[in-house]
């Protein structure tokens, strides 16, 4: 007689959960840690005019430095942009794109805060909405 380890799995559409071995075809598999979002939060910041390297701090209330990511959106713009990116104006296939002058330099965390860093080369302030995520520690 043999014994097997109990598990719970949920397969994708048209997949056989009893025979499926490709984890990409399992919606859930209790053998694996599913990555959990601990915090999902919207904040708005105002970038000072003609200033680079602006830090913005958001307390997360966790007792450790979580892994983080974020998406930003300038007021009046349609698209979001991620860290390590310029926000851009699209000018069509021929003319390409130009930077709006707002750059999302980086996102970081420590045991107390999420830290977002921006540049703004415009001569006016810019309002930016940020959605950031804190993930579980591993």
């Amino acid at each position: 007689m043999t014994t097997s380890t109990p598990k719970i799995a949920v397969a994708g559409l048209y997949r056989n959960v009893l025979t499926e071995t490709d984890k990409n075809n399992l919606i859930f598999d209790s053998e694996d840690n599913t990555f959990k979002i601990l915090i999902e939060r919207n904040v708005t910041v105002i970038l000072a005019a003609s200033t680079n390297n602006q830090d913005f701090y958001f307390p997360h209330g966790l007792q450790f430095a979580p892994q983080v990511t974020a998406f930003a959106k300038e007021t009046g713009k349609e698209q979001v942009f991620s860290p390590n990116s310029d926000d851009i104006n699209l000018w069509g296939a021929k003319l390409g794109w130009t930077s709006t002058g707002v750059r999302f330099n980086s996102i970081s965390s420590d045991s107390e805060r999420v830290i977002c860093n921006f540049n703004n080369t415009n001569g006016t302030t810019k309002t930016v909405d940020i959605k950031y995520y804190c993930f579980e520690a591993s």
């Binding site: 949920v10 994708g12 559409l13 984890k23 990409n24 399992l26 919606i27 859930f28 598999d29 694996d32 840690n33 599913t34 990555f35 959990k36 430095a65 892994q67 983080v68 990511t69 991620s82 860290p83 390590n84 990116s85 310029d86 750059r103 330099n105 980086s106 996102i107 970081s108 965390s109 420590d110 045991s111 830290i115 860093n117 591993s138």
Partner: protein, 121 residues
């Protein structure tokens, strides 16, 4: 035949009536596949000054991954492709490996997360 439904809702969400997947930790409605990201490994790795570290993930396809760099003060900064922030650190991923590059003059500690989720096909 009725669709097979399996939903685990967040606190104060009515799992029977609510249809917004963001409100669920597990959402299976038999109509659309909403896969959960399954973690393969999460490790810390040191990369020497002006060095590249190749980490074999062994999956044979390009998986979802995230890489963070430890900077002073216990701060972890997320890494991307070639950095515009002049940090000197970046990573790439292919079917076999994550390749973490440290172009600075000092050793740096990185943390990486590899998921089973295939992001290319």
């Amino acid at each position: 035949m009725a669709e097979i439904v399996l939903k685990v809702a967040k606190e104060k969400i009515n799992a029977v009536e609510n249809t917004e997947p963001d409100n669920f930790s597990l959402y299976v409605d038999g109509l659309e596949d909403l896969y959960l990201a399954k973690l393969k490994e999460a490790k810390i790795s040191d990369v020497g000054a002006s060095s590249v570290k190749t980490i074999n993930h062994g999956l044979g396809y390009i998986p979802l991954c995230m890489v963070y760099k430890l900077v002073t003060g216990g701060i972890w900064t997320k890494l991307f492709g070639m950095p515009i922030d002049s940090s000197g650190c970046y990573f790439s991923i292919n079917k076999q490996n994550i390749v973490i590059s440290n172009t600075t003059g000092s050793p740096i500690t990185f943390k990486y997360f590899i998921f089973y989720d295939n992001i290319h096909s």
